[in-house]
Amino acid sequence: MTDSKLIIVGIGAYALARSPVKIKTYGLGSCVGIALYDRRERIGGLVHAMLPSISNARIKENPLKYTDSGIEYLAGEIVKKGSSRKRLEAKLVGGAHMFENRNMNIGERNIELARKTLERLEISIVAEDTGKNYGRTVTLDTSTGDLLIRTILRGDKII
């Protein structure tokens, strides 16, 4: 990990950092961003997953491309860094339906599976900003656990 204060997470990737580093991912559309945060240790991680389940994958080399395996991977890594699964809180962002007249519902399925996976891992979802039809850029502030969400037409908000 570098000493820069901001880490950018690409699509199908993740980052994990301690306070006061910020983790940002650009342009969540139908993709889902899952932030896991440990308030006591002030350590947090962010995954930018594309597709719902790794069980349907042809190549299974990148667990971070999929919502279910991405969450499991991030939860595993954060625990390795000294957190405990019980202290983790989750926030979900994205899973939008960008093109209104198209019936692909990848976004919706991503969110559904993210909720199920977190429930199975017994990690509670403390906030979410999901669905609708617009893109979001997300920044996780590991000093507070806040997620800053930026949009084009709907302004910014913190969850």
Binding site: G10, I11, G12, A13, Y26, G27, L28, G29, S30, C31, M50, L51, R58, I59, N62, K65, A96, M98, F99, E100, N101, R102, M104, I106, N133, Y134, G135, R136, T137, R150, T151, I152, L153
Partner: protein, 212 residues
């Protein structure tokens, strides 16, 4: 996914041929745009690359910059997507030229959105027709889906849709510019691995190489 793995390392002359193909596509789109706007259109081929779909944003760059983006499916003999992006200012400037009036609206409204969607459809249609003529293939495009949002969100959503069917994609990245009117556009073409194979096969048939 053996097809993808085999194709991972394209040779330099193959990339050269793909860039030339891209040049043909964007060049013909530019001619259409010239006819629509009566302005000189400059084009630039930014490159061709065969990559894992999740690595494509690393090539195009990813941003939260607001754009009007249209995407269309490429169908029939080849399969993929064509995406055309216009920044907000370009949407406005192009709308003024096409409609002949400045309605004084800065943001992207319904009228300019429909206008640009139509232009994007024409540009993509010309692009694909040029490829189709050159390669001797039957290629069509679907009706466009248009949205005004962050560049990154639009691109990621299309890549996600594409990744339901394939893990790799050929990216052709090109741009055009009407300097006097400050209109800029970016054209991204994505083909699946089977289409890439088909394109290379056709190029080999059209320009047989002496075996080294």
């Amino acid at each position: 996914m053996e097809e993808g793995k085999n194709l991972k390392n394209l040779r330099e002359y193959e990339y050269g041929a793909l860039r030339e193909l891209e040049n043909i596509g964007i060049g013909n789109s530019a001619t259409s745009l010239y006819k629509l706007t009566n302005n000189l259109v400059q084009t630039r081929v930014l490159g061709a690359k065969f990559e894992l779909i999740e690595n494509i944003p690393k090539i195009t760059g990813i941003s939260e910059f607001p754009v009007l983006g249209s995407f269309m499916h490429i169908e029939k003999d080849l399969s993929g997507y064509i995406l055309i992006f216009f920044p907000e200012k370009s949407v406005k400037n192009l709308s003024i030229i096409l409609s002949g009036e400045d309605r004084g609206i800065d943001s992207v409204d319904t009228i300019s959105r429909s206008l640009i969607e139509e232009v994007s459809h024409i540009l993509a249609g010309t692009y694909v027709t040029a490829l189709s003529t050159f390669l001797g293939l039957n290629i069509l495009i679907s009706t466009p889906y248009t949205v005004y949002d962050m560049f990154g969100s639009i691109l990621n959503s299309v890549l996600t849709e594409m990744s339901c069917k394939t893990d790799f994609a050929l990216l052709l990245d090109a741009e055009f510019l009407i300097k006097e009117e400050k209109i800029y556009g970016n054209v991204l073409t994505l083909f699946d691995p089977a289409s890439l194979e088909y394109i290379l096969k056709r190029i080999d048939e059209i320009f047989p190489r002496k075996s080294a």
